[in-house]
């Protein structure tokens, strides 16, 4: 795996990726169909939607209805992709996703944009710290929180083709660049980015770059950290979690989400049952979001590189 992290931003935004790759899929196969709830312009698909209103359907501001329709389209043989902002792709249509989708064995891909602090200027009402928790509670759901666009590009079609309810949480802007283009990823398999014997840092999405940076800082203090990109939060790569928990004896989870129900909970569930391990977390501590620039919010909710370093220091067993 070629990791090219150097602290710089991804050369492509997720919006750029979605605005080209959703239309590409739609053009390739008439079974793909895309629905949006009046937020096409926010991910750059409005132009395509205007030209192909029967392939890219604007449902208006009616998320629950959109999901229900997507589920019906799934029953009719389509592979629907739905987009709206993260809070509306999770909370606002949860029962429809749960029942018309998962329970009824229909397959839909939900894209929730601007998760956690990346909702920034839209403020607390638009800042989902609970979307992962909600989707984790749906039997059989898949949750993907990609680190960068190279990773998303590698798995996007697999995700859309996958059976069941799938939730993709993406920042519309760019995260830190982590991977070289063309790398391969498998949904459900975490990626080891750094090997170290003292502590394992497990991160996803927006936080992966910060976790690598934290590992580099820890190294200067003589702490060798493993860094795992757990881009699939469900199904969780339990084998990898257990392997590195045993190897390092200390685990730190890092997520742009509430500690309740997110990556921390997912990892803790596995470790509590199969390999009790010292853990610390970098996560939102059961709070609502608020308005502001991303960097301010990351500081405000304890999601900076320094917070990761501190958390790691707190769990490492020093000889």
């Amino acid at each position: 795996m070629k990791v090219i992290y150097d602290g710089s931003a991804d050369s492509r935004t997720f919006k750029e990726f979605l605005s080209t790759d959703i239309p590409k899929l739609l053009d390739e196969n008439p079974d793909y169909i895309y629905l949006d709830a009046d937020l096409m312009s926010c991910i750059g698909t409005a132009k395509y939607g205007k030209a192909h209103p029967d392939r890219a359907i604007n449902c208006g501001i009616a998320e629950a209805n959109m999901v229900g329709i997507a589920c019906g389209l799934s029953a009719a043989g389509f592979k629907p992709i739905c987009h709206t902002f993260g809070p509306f792709a999770s909370r606002r249509c949860y029962d429809q996703v749960f029942l018309s989708g998962a329970y009824a064995h229909n397959s839909i891909t939900m894209i929730g944009s601007d998760p956690g602090v990346t909702a920034a200027m839209n403020g607390g009402t638009h800042m989902p710290f609970e979307d992962v928790a909600l989707y984790r509670a749906i039997p059989g759901a898949t949750i993907v929180d990609p680190a960068d666009t190279a990773q998303l590009a590698a798995i996007f079609q697999d995700l859309v083709d996958r059976e069941g309810v799938k939730y993709l949480r993406v920042n519309r802007k760019s995260n830190d660049r982590v991977y070289a283009d063309g790398e391969k990823f498998e949904i459900g398999k975490g990626v080891v980015l750094r090997e170290g014997a003292d502590v394992t840092i497990i991160a996803s999405g927006f936080m992966v770059g910060r976790a690598i940076k934290a590992a580099d800082l820890l190294k200067k203090q003589g702490i060798d950290a493993t860094v795992i990109d757990m881009f699939t939060i469900k199904p969780l790569d339990e084998e990898l979690v257990l392997k590195y928990a045993e190897k390092t004896g200390a685990v730190v989870t890092v997520e742009n989400h509430n500690a309740i129900g997110g990556l921390y909970s997912a990892v803790a569930d596995v470790l509590a049952a199969k390999c009790p391990t010292r853990m610390a977390r970098v996560a939102v501590e059961d709070e609502f979001g608020e308005v502001g620039p991303v960097d301010y919010l990351a500081e405000r909710f304890g999601l900076t590189t320094e917070h990761i370093v501190e958390a790691a220091e707190s769990v490492v067993v020093r000889e």
Partner: protein, 281 residues
Amino acid sequence: MNNQEKKDLRIFAAQIRIALLEELKARGFGHVGGSLSICDLLAVLYGKVMNYKPEDPKWADRDKVVSSKGHAGPALYATLALKGFFPMDELKTLNRPGTNLPSHCDKNKTIGIDCTTGSLGQGTSQAVGMALGDKLKGRPSRTFLIVGDGEIDEGQCWEAAMFTAAKKVNNLVWIVDDNKRQLDGPTAEILPTFDLRAKFEAFGFDAVRVPGNDVEALYEALTKTPEDKPIAIIMDNVKGSGVKAVEDTPANHSMTVNAETWDSYIAAVKADLETIEKEVV
């Protein structure tokens, strides 16, 4: 309403627009289109129709406003500041870290905001509950609910509308800001609403269509005493209304423009204000 009163309301509407644009200019971007289109309405509500006490913002018997289109918060903040709920200077903190003025309405942050909104549709049912509560408590209050013509895509709006008429929550006034655009473009292209007045009538309302910039017509509609049915006012409107350059910008939902451009918008409203002030009544 006499001519002087009408003139005063038009002046107040222009002052709200100026304060709103200054507020957005201080941050450089914001939901300008849907904020501008409710300024005349807010001028009539806060200038003449509503009972409230800026010095006692939680006075239980006050009339209440719910902007279910929560992204129009900046227009409400400008109005509340002009009416003395908080200092005008505070408008400059819009969307700054730690602000009391977030992009969407928050009753726990902003003095004078009666309902927390931002997830479209949700203000409607809350407004029904607030009005119903006032009624059950025997308060004289009325609640004015502002809903977007895009927002009305949400099924929750229609559930709330059905309840309003069915349970005769007649101290609640529905106002639909029919400004013909939502986020991705014209409402007629995204999800046509068809005849909103007929829809509300079919839902059991006494519905009227009123020009969104006609303060006198708005006043008449807002002060009409409901008889058997609740009142719904469909405001025939233009997104960005009152600033020609914004009206003419197709994607005017949220705009990021430089200080000179904001100044040009402000100058245009100031020129209108001067003209109105010179009018002889």
